[in-house]
Symmetry: C2
Subunit: 348 residues, 2 copies
């Protein structure tokens, strides 16, 4: 073992207990371990930045979902970007910048099987920065891209509404909608976010759900109704949009952040769902992993927009390393993040 690795300590955040509502300090355990040389075919990665996502809350519930829950005592699951610091894998060399699922820890040692399973991939920082690779070129960008284009199927001239518009997925969806010739209307919390969504990202309008009635906002800004709704929030906002959809509208169910911390996991169902019947409309769920074999195509398209300046990318980067993971995660559920929430773990 090299002397440099032997001196390193890996700090980790593990799931200590399942939360019932909101997560608190009692749900997390901080541990440390020595950093070990990777096994044959393995790779050791130093975590640079972690992606903090609403979906993380779902992974804490002991329920059947699209992915197994994080086990008690396990390192918390997280996507992120890192730098290879030791490699016994022919495909990776020391210094490579990689994206994968390191988890909430400072160093991730991938076995050959984990390299495969986590989809560990080299990335090219000429296409975008580390934080952009966690945003429009990463999972949120892929989610917005495939969710809007493949499930929402927007046609030029249609009105696309997206909730969580200042969030990671929302910013991609609205900007893509504009690039595809649609009217883009966001829903976000607070005047600062709404102003940014319109002035910086070029949405046609943004409804501040904290300031007034979403129903009235939709009436004003979607005079011809809503053809595509990309839902990240669920709850009352989903119901307000259901009441304004057009015939043959498409609703993309991507998430429901307003519902994830409900006690007992009880979700508020959309009481206006019969609008689907009246309008011959559909509501369809999506999970980004299904499109993994086409990420390359989407990344190339999105990198082109970034380079041309026709797409902007905003990240809310929190410093402080994994020690501040618990409170940083809750920023998502308080709507405090402004852009894609990224936890910086180490300098490049």
């Amino acid at each position: 073992m090299s002397s440099t690795l032997a001196s390193l300590v890996n700090h980790q955040v593990r799931l200590a207990a399942r939360p019932t509502g909101r997560t608190g300090p009692e749900n997390w355990q901080f541990t440390e371990e020595p950093v070990a040389e990777p096994a044959d075919g393995g790779v050791l990665v130093k975590t640079l930045a972690l992606s903090l996502d609403p979906a993380m809350r779902g992974w804490l519930n002991d329920a059947k979902s699209y992915i197994p829950p994080v086990g008690i005592g396990e390192v918390m699951r997280a996507g992120g970007i890192g730098r290879v610091i030791a490699s016994k894998h022919a495909g990776f060399a020391v210094g490579d910048i990689v994206t994968g699922g390191p988890g909430v820890q400072e160093y991730a040692s991938y076995t050959p099987e984990q390299v495969k399973r986590s989809g560990l991939t080299k990335i090219d920082l000429r296409y975008g920065s580390v934080t952009q690779w966690l945003n429009v070129l990463g999972m949120p960008g892929m989610t917005g891209y495939f969710g809007l284009l493949e499930v929402g199927e927007p046609k030029p001239g249609e009105t696309v509404v997206v909730s969580g518009a200042a969030g990671a997925v929302g910013q991609t969806v609205g900007q893509l909608a504009k690039l595809k010739g649609c009217r883009a209307v966001g829903i976000a919390g607070g005047p600062e976010k709404c102003e940014w969504v319109v002035k910086e990202l070029g949405f046609d309008a943004c409804i501040d759900y904290k300031a007034g009635s979403v129903k009235d906002g939709l009436k004003e800004h979607c005079p011809k109704g809503v053809d595509v709704y990309f839902d990240n929030v669920g709850g009352e906002i989903l119901d307000a949009v259901l009441a304004r959809i057009t015939r043959h509208a498409r609703i993309v169910i991507c998430g429901a952040i307003s519902q994830y911390n409900n006690e007992g996991g009880v979700v508020q169902g959309p009481k206006n769902y019969l609008s689907l019947l009246v309008n011959r409309a559909r509501m369809q769920g999506m999970v980004v992993f299904d499109y993994a074999d086409r990420y390359g195509v989407a990344i190339a398209e999105m990198a082109g927009y970034l380079k041309a300046g026709t797409m902007k990318s905003k990240e809310d980067v929190v410093d402080g390393g994994i020690a501040v993971f618990p409170q940083t995660l809750n920023k998502l559920f308080d709507g405090e993040n402004f852009g894609k929430l990224v936890l910086k773990v180490a300098d490049e």
Copy 2:
């Protein structure tokens, strides 16, 4: 004016007041009018039988829907079958049996414009009886046919679940599912209906929602999960099915009879709708009128099944004429009807 027509009196049921929950005698007004000779290009039809449908409850609400509400003081809207007793229209002769929208009255005088708008059509009783023309060859049959095949898109070997299985639409859906090579599982109220659905209609199983847990029934009878759910009822049953759908499942939203009489029109939203996300599934509404230009194809196919004996048709025919319309309508919401509910108005 011919002397025979002059002696006829048309009894009618009109909407007196909008109901808030369940309809009662206070919502209806009985009126009578002389029967008039049809105008040039018009047709006078004697009502033989009326179709009583859950959708009728929706037509009484003063709300935007796929069809305008019935106005206060107007003859209650209803589809039905009648015999032409006077015609000044080149396309119809005295004695023709026709299907259209006569409303809840004994005689319907169609202006030329109404002939067109109501889709008044001659039917051939060699294909099926008057009541079958209101059932599998009529709106319920068309609803089941296009809803299942076009929206549900069942594939051979898949499991299709339908609620209201002993009702007009439900019986068509389950029998068609079997004919298309699927496993058909019904949900109905009471052992008699369930036994009939399995023994007479050939469903693979039927869950009695009054006898026990629909959740357990689905677990037992849909061991591989639910690929297509045709929903006529909404409420708790929709939620139970959502918890058992397979990846890429399709839910057809055709109606929500459990919710139509709720006070204030408040509907219980499906709290398990996020199962659509986990399972990349879709929920889609349908209205049968959209398929009107293809009814002919569907009727030919269904008449073939009837003739071959591979499809059965059960009607619950109530005698008593339009005088018993109010209480007969409520049979639907009490789940008392067994098969398609038909109100007989006159002998052929």
